[in-house]
């Protein structure tokens, strides 16, 4: 992996790294990418990518007003504790 690619990635990740470390990162990354390359050989035909850790359902709640949150009304506004 060359430095222009590393520089681009560091820019995306907003990480400032010293030049000597850039080389180390490039080497480490190459090594790790070589290792994970073996996934290309795994046969995944017909398999959908799995998103997330559970078996994907939306979690909904009843559409009722939370009583705790409706007590702050004052003259048509919501009164809340200071935030800043």
């Amino acid at each position: 992996m060359d430095f222009t690619e590393i520089d681009h990635l560091l820019d995306l990740a907003r990480l400032e790294v010293q030049p000597n470390e850039k080389e180390q990162i490039a080497q480490d990354l190459s090594k790790i990418l070589d290792y994970v390359e073996q996934l290309q050989k795994v046969d995944t035909t017909g398999l959908e990518p799995m998103n997330g850790g559970t078996f994907g359902e939306n979690v909904l709640r009843e559409d009722i007003i939370n009583p705790q949150k409706s007590n702050f009304k004052k003259e048509g506004y919501f009164e809340v504790p200071p935030i800043f």
Partner: protein
Amino acid sequence: MGMIQELHQKLINHEITASQLVSDYFKVIEDKDKDIQAFLVLEKEKALQSASEVDNKIQRGETIDILEGIPYAVKDNILVKGIKTTAGSKILENYVASYNATVIQKLNEAGAIFIGKTNPDEFAMGSSTENSAFFTTKNPYDLTRVPGGSSGGSAAAVAAKMSSFALGSDTGGSIRQPAAFCGVVGLKPSYGAVSRYGLISMASSLDVIGPFTETVDDAEIVFRTISGKDPMDSTSHNISSIPDSRFLPAQAGQIPNSKIGLPKEYFIEGLDLEIRSRIEEVINKIKNNSITIKEVSLPSTTAALPCYYIIMPAEVSSNLARYDGIRYSPLSNLESPITSLHDLYFKNRGEGFGKEVRRRIVLGTYVLSKGYYDAYYKKAQRVRRLIVNEFQKVFEEVNFLITPTTPTPPFKIGEKTSDPLSMYLSDIFTVSANISGLPALNLPIGFTKEHLPIGLQIIGPYNSDYSLLQIAKFIEELL
């Protein structure tokens, strides 16, 4: 009887007061922690205060619950309100938690007594606790060796009896591996069984909070308390607390009608010989107790670690994008002037994150970037589904799986820090359970000739946590 139940009996029988109990634990901490360095923060005064409240209850003749008055430690990536929560990182060095994690809320309501935060690998990234920005925790069995990671501090605290139980988190093995290295029970619950609200996110589809305890009974008590559906975490759900009666007895002392599988891909060449032979001894004991043990196969086992090292860094790069170092870390040494906000982010993040964290963020950024997303991330997500399917299939043949937890006994401090890949390989047996969301437990089963702990891993089907605990208890009693 587990430690927690023993202590509970002593409290209700007036053999010891909660204040004395907490004091005693702090005495052990004062004795041992200068060498082990498991703790980042201790809360002695508040703990003693809470303990005296429990004592008042007991004196008034009120009944107390099983965890009341019992001290516990918490990995520093879990928020405890009013206490510094650093995730082992400089970028959060000054962050004081603004709320309690749900698990902490639950333990507080149960009357358990928080005593301190334990040292983790930075942002839970590592297998040795050497990546903590502050210091390295030592293995209580050999101070020249690592306690494992990333929940090394929590594992060491329980192993050295500095706490009766502790909480950790497990994304790729970070509870089970240090539990094996420190000779304690470590439970990684099913994904979603325990709320992640208040856990500093590492990889959101893999992270799970779980307990370190001395015995399986204790692990069940803590798990029962901290688990459950939480409206604040929509990936959380309730699970049945009744062990599966098809293969587990209703009462203790009866032989379970379980079938246990030994996946052949886990008993490989590189497995340490002492670990292998000790596990074989335990397997023979199980066989002699009329439980069916058979060899099974999980062909995608070798794909699990590379799959993990694509998915996890991808999620990491996204989850850690929020840290800008502005509020909670000490200002960077402003040798070179900051020229823009962009520049500020660069410098704060570059300085605030350690090497391993930076490495994983860059790796994650790469696999998610245009042109590589399909080849790496999407491919890994397909492999993930393959692994999940394989486990489901194998659990049609058997009820549980037994494997080694780690390929080697605890290694020496500094041994694996120069080669990230060799460090990653410590998790080779643990990552599959995270990828597939399955519950898995480390059971301490003995020691090597050099008196280093050996662990055995038991894996169960999704949401079978209470069944898993039952079978683990059964095996524990055979030891």
